[in-house]
Chain length 189, copies 2
């Protein structure tokens, strides 16, 4: 029904789509069912590279199938491990990284991303970001534990040095108070 | 230093630039020194149309000169009157509208946009918006009277019906608390 400001995920795609192009190196920190991974794989083109992480085997499997179906699996390196390890696995600098937090839709809702590991992952990702690079985080304050994660992230991002990072919070203001929102962090050039 | 998330004005341009293209009909509700007007005039191409409003003669003059210099004045209809009149002046439906509130940079800082007329203008603009159209508002809570205007706008936008309008507030979270921010409103298709 809405084209551009349809959902936090769409807004994150809009921002990232304006930042990266063919040849980009990017990370999907939480591949989940692979929608962001597919979006990134399309955006980086044949010479680009996507790294994907997920702690759940089901998510890795779903994502692999989705990419195979679209013929894009060869652009993507999938790691079945938590995103807090991404700085150990990815040794090149990146143009962008996307996080989509919370639980796996259709999966076990008790398995959720946690404040400490999410912030560890984001911290590692920001170090990997090239000058001018972009990180997006879709945050879900609504489920149990989600509000704590949201608060921890808000505080972390609010304290990033303003000369190195420009950070916005994008909230949907005419929806319920605990609607998911986007944090976007651009690194200075 | 920042390319994409550099300022509220840049973010508004990013959103509007992803929405409109050649042939679009748009409004600059507050032409000021003409930066948004110029951006819109470039975006709508030779077959598009821009309507511009400002209550200050100085703003209209500055904008006219800027457009003339770029050879784009013929795409723009300028009205030297308050934006609360826009619904009386513009009789066709529009693809987008941009507001940049507060005072005229370099002008008389006592002349500021006011909550009641700003909301009247926004209300009129939303009626003119085509399905799928976009409104952006850059809001300045920092100057005297700015916080009241910001609060009135936040409340107005938070109460727009969610099936007809998707509304986001984009705040710069690692800058001062009273930093300018963006409201963006997309009309359902």
């Amino acid at each position: 029904m809405f084209e551009m400001i349809a959902s936090p995920v769409k807004v994150a795609h809009l921002l990232m789509g304006n930042k990266i192009g063919p040849g980009a190196t990017v990370i999907d920190a939480t591949v989940g069912n692979g929608y962001d991974t597919l979006f990134l794989a399309e955006a980086v083109g044949v010479v680009g590279r996507v790294y994907g992480f997920d702690i759940q085997a089901e998510a890795i499997e779903n994502t692999k199938l989705r990419l195979l179906k679209e013929g894009l699996l060869e652009r993507v390196l999938l790691f079945h491990e938590g995103h807090e390890n991404l700085a150990h696995r990815v040794t090149e600098n990146i143009d962008g990284i996307m996080f989509n937090l919370g639980y796996l839709p259709g999966g076990d809702h008790r398995v959720i991303t946690k404040p400490s590991t999410t912030i560890m992952a984001l911290e590692g990702a920001l170090k990997l970001l090239k000058p001018g690079g972009l990180a997006t985080v879709v945050v879900y304050p609504g489920h149990e534990g989600g509000a704590d994660e949201a608060q921890a992230l808000d505080e972390y991002v609010a304290h990033l040095p303003k000369n190195t990072y420009s950070c916005v919070k994008i909230t949907f203001v005419n929806r319920s108070r605990r609607s998911p929102y986007v944090l976007a962090i651009e690194k200075a050039q």
